[in-house]
């Protein structure tokens, strides 16, 4: 089992959850709004619609310090005890200085190493391909999962979820959830085997089972969850945790699986606008590090109405938080791409390009991609991840600067932002893939080629050869 690193004492976290300052949840939510607003003012953090990829290092550093201030003043809320878990600046600094400097996924020839990326880093991002728990059927689960794992740029992968199992609805807390969760783990490994990649790391081997008992039940090597795979533990809402999540942490600490923190604050929600939500997202990384003992982090900030992170404000938020993390910490974090439009649409291809450029140049690894607002059954495929990852690689390899990236991304955003509210849901997997051969249709391939020509004319080198991924030896 790989060394997980040194983290803040988890038992002390539980103790603080049991004995911290009591506060009503509604009051905590209000306090967050007040503090976030105050921090935004004090640290002079301003969203700039014409500079979605800011070049101002000072701004990134102020976002970091603002997040520290919010985290220390607000604390983390435990909904089961209705108390706040508080930390000192010294504890936070200690945890940051001891955060893992590398994280390994996969086995043997498929071993990949995640590392802290930097702003305008020319090292390509590690790409964690994922169907982000899109709802599918049992029959389509393996072909859809294969469409992700077979992609050459997939360094790790995770899958969709099923909503019914052997004719029964997969219901939270039921025996079916446990059965379906075990099936989910088995089928993810089966898809990897079918794709000729039996040793690839599955960074989140459980999407169907949500409850802790179902998740733990599915975590068996004999089901295909190998050492070097992982699980993500989410914050349940802005800066909140509960015993259900903390139980997962308690299990994972003693398991051979990589622990990832998963954070999705809503822009427009309790932390306010893009500035407040940026601070809140960054503060979630401290939550993950200190409360969840997270070895690495996944960020999916979401627009409260459009349920994506490709609007102008969201791309600014993604960029500024990535830069703040990259400049001030060694935390290893991936940006989850959430698209408004669905597969095989012009809009989704442009959204993927804009997000991948913004995230890569700002220091993130990439976790593509939820599409069609992550809510429409069967509307997901590996092709979206391919597009996102190829753009990410080319962004890094071409040495794109923030200034150049900003110019290109602004052009892309301008082309689709008016469609946000009514973004096309696109095609289902069966409509945009040859399901038997697990291959994108000519229509989808042609659409991507057409878009690449357009991007070339915007100044993005969409034909730059991508180096063969070197894996293994970990």
């Amino acid at each position: 089992m790989a060394e997980k690193g040194t983290f803040f004492d988890f038992i002390e976290v539980i103790r603080r959850a049991e004995s911290g300052e009591p506060i009503k949840e509604a009051e905590y939510d209000r306090k967050m709004g007040r503090l976030a607003l105050d921090v935004v003012k004090r640290y002079e953090i301003r969203y700039t619609p014409e500079q979605v990829i800011p070049e101002d290092d000072g701004l990134a550093d102020r976002v970091f310090e603002g997040a520290v201030s919010l985290f220390l003043d607000l604390g983390v809320y435990c909904t089961d005890t209705q108390r706040t878990i508080r930390f000192t600046r010294e504890e936070l600094d200690w945890a940051l200085s001891h955060a893992p400097k590398e994280v390994l996924y996969g086995r043997e020839e498929e071993t990949v190493t995640l590392f802290p990326r930097k702003v305008e880093d020319r090292r390509p991002p590690v790409c964690l391909f994922s169907a982000v728990g899109a709802p599918v059927s049992e029959e389509s689960f393996v072909p859809i999962a294969r469409s992700y794992v077979q992609e050459p740029l997939a360094d790790t992968y995770s899958g969709p979820l099923i909503t019914s199992y052997q004719g029964l609805a997969v219901t939270s807390g039921s025996p079916v959830e446990v059965e379906a969760a075990i099936w989910n783990t088995r089928m993810l490994r089966e898809a990897a085997v079918q794709a000729g990649r039996p040793n690839i790391g599955i960074h989140n081997f459980q999407s169907t089972g949500e409850r802790t008992d179902a998740t733990i039940a599915s975590a068996q090597e004999s089901f295909g969850a190998y050492p070097g795979d992982g699980l993500l533990v989410a914050a349940i809402a802005e800066m909140k945790v509960d015993f259900e999540r903390l139980k997962k942490v308690a299990f994972l600490r003693h398991s051979p699986y990589v622990q990832g923190g998963l954070y999705g604050p809503l822009m427009g929600g309790y932390a306010g606008g893009p500035e407040g939500t940026a601070i809140c997202l960054l503060a979630h990384h401290f939550l993950g590090l200190l409360v969840y003992s997270a070895q690495r982090h996944n960020a999916f900030p979401i627009h409260i109405h459009h349920v994506c992170n490709t609007t102008r404000e969201m791309l600014w938020l993604v960029s500024v938080v990535g830069q703040a993390l990259a400049r001030n910490t060694d935390l290893i974090s991936a940006a989850n791409a959430f698209m408004a439009a669905g597969p095989c649409t012009e809009m989704v291809v442009d959204e993927l390009c804009a997000h991948a450029i913004a995230a890569t140049v700002s220091g993130w690894h990439l976790n593509p991609a939820a599409v069609a607002k992550n809510r429409h059954p069967f509307r997901c495929s590996g092709m979206e991840c391919r597009i996102h990852a190829e753009v990410g690689h080319r962004t890094a390899l071409s040495g794109l600067t923030r200034k150049e990236a900003n110019r290109i991304v602004l052009r892309l955003v301008s082309s689709y932002e008016k469609q946000m509210a009514d973004a096309p849901i696109g095609k289902t997997f069966a409509e945009c893939y040859d399901v038997e051969r697990v291959k994108p249709t000519d229509e989808y391939e042609s659409l991507y080629e057409k878009k690449k020509r357009e991007w070339q004319s915007l100044g993005f080198d969409a034909s730059l050869p991508i180096q063969k991924k070197e894996r293994g030896g970990g």
Partner: protein, 213 residues
């Protein structure tokens, strides 16, 4: 600026103290409380809803506005009860379904419903189907509103509808569902009466279901 416009403005600004002062002033000037609420505070809150929909303001400001309106209405309450000129509020029993702890969407819907004159009984999150049914029987609401963020919990929604039928309550209450994975087609398939994609849409659906619009 007239008094009613001023009342709308303080709600938009989320100024609780001024809301209380203006409500007292309205009473002193002999304004009908129901009229003052509708043409003053509620008008301001409608504008808050519009500003939130276009994200010109964010949830913390919406909460402040809702607080200001609630404080203002509190001043009128005794007079509303004695004069009886205000139409009775429509009532909603609201909650996040069994097994689901994600409640930000439900909370926003609650605020917007309250600001639009509905009386909301918020049961919180992870609410058992049996508890929803119990509250429907006890409170006889116009609507029961249920939210879910996960596919594994939204499947409790049809169970709720079935149980309401079994208990002979289905014809007495409208069922409104919502949440990220809940699509209108599915809502209609399970026999729900309405489904809102956003908080503002939920308010529109609630108004339609209760004959307010």
């Amino acid at each position: 600026m007239g008094l009613l416009e001023e009342m709308a403005k303080v709600v938009i600004e989320g100024d609780e103290e001024r809301a209380v002062l203006l409500a007292r002033q309205a009473l002193d000037e002999g304004l009908d409380p129901a009229f003052a609420i509708e043409k003053g505070f509620a008008k301001g809150m409608n504008e808050v809803g519009r500003l939130f929909e276009s994200l010109e303001i964010f949830l913390p400001q919406v909460i402040l506005s809702a607080d200001a309106m609630a404080r203002g209405i509190e001043v009128f309450r005794a007079h509303l009860e004695t004069k009886g000129t205000r139409k009775p509020d429509k009532t909603v029993v609201l909650g996040t379904i069994q097994g689901d702890v994600h409640d930000i969407g439900k909370n926003i819907v609650r605020i917007m419903l309250e600001c639009n004159g509905f009386t909301v009984h918020d049961l919180g999150r992870d609410v058992a189907v049996s508890h929803f049914v119990e509250k429907v029987r006890e409170l006889s609401p116009d609507i029961v509103g249920v939210s879910a963020l996960m596919t594994t919990t939204m499947v409790h929604m049809p169970r709720l509808i079935e149980t309401l039928k079994e208990e002979g309550l289905r014809d007495k209450v409208k069922v409104m569902v919502g949440g990220a994975p809940v699509l209108p087609d599915w809502a209609s398939w399970i026999g729900a009466d309405g489904c809102g994609k956003s908080a503002m849409e939920a308010v529109a659906v609630a108004k339609r279901l209760t004959g307010l619009e």
